[in-house]
Symmetry: C2
Subunit: 137 residues, 2 copies
């Protein structure tokens, strides 16, 4: 394990940030919001991530009990990753990050109304149920 992972924090927020921080974790978790995914699916879906990084981040998320790993004993191997109950509860964090980040982007970079870098990972439904997020098509 490369990443130094603290066991204790003086602050719950820091603990949370440590779980979802890093270059790839939000993106990975984002992909899992639409349901369980295989390793290869994630690898294709998370553009630019290397296999080493993907494995490493998945291991850490698993260690933090945010996602669960299911191995199907077949050849070639089939491994699926899915949110745990605790991981699903992260949606409130995602939502808050998404809302604030969206405002932030528009403020910092208001000219880019239709550009690629302006799109959100998540869209909040109009008739929103608390805690629910749907993935951007």
């Amino acid at each position: 394990m490369t990443k130094k992972r603290q066991a204790y924090y003086t602050c719950s927020m820091e603990a949370a940030l440590n779980v979802i921080g890093g270059k790839w974790k939000l993106t990975i978790l984002n992909r899992l919001l639409t349901g369980p995914k295989r390793y290869g699916e994630l690898h294709r879906s998370v553009t630019g991530i290397t296999e080493k990084m993907l494995t490493q981040q998945l291991r850490e998320l698993e260690e933090d009990q945010v996602i669960a790993r299911t191995i199907y004993p077949v050849v070639p191997p089939r491994v699926e990753y899915a949110f745990t109950e605790s991981g699903e509860k992260l949606s409130d964090v995602f939502k808050a990050l998404e809302i604030w980040g969206s405002n932030f982007q528009h403020r910092i970079n208001p000219i880019s109304g239709n550009a690629d870098h302006d799109k959100s990972c998540y869209v909040l439904k109009e008739e929103e149920q608390p805690g629910q997020l749907i993935h951007n098509p």
Copy 2:
């Protein structure tokens, strides 16, 4: 500036995470929740941070328009840091992080009911008004 700071993101969440990520920013922002603070106050209050790091993080937060810097032209110098309007809106993010992180800590480390590392940075009031956080005494 040491930190590589992206200008564009494919995801608002990533933009948000970039603003509050890093080793010290949540702690600094946490201190500012109780009102504007001077450089020296922050330095004493954020245990362990070096002057270089404090300055650097404050500069980045200022650049991201999360905090504002006010210089009083006196000798010796007096400089105050305070949330901007946008920074204040981060409280929703803090709250979500805090709630999830708190559950996370109890799950990961359930034995530590009264230890130091179990305490929160924030306490949510019983009769909570939306978006309001008060600092832990």
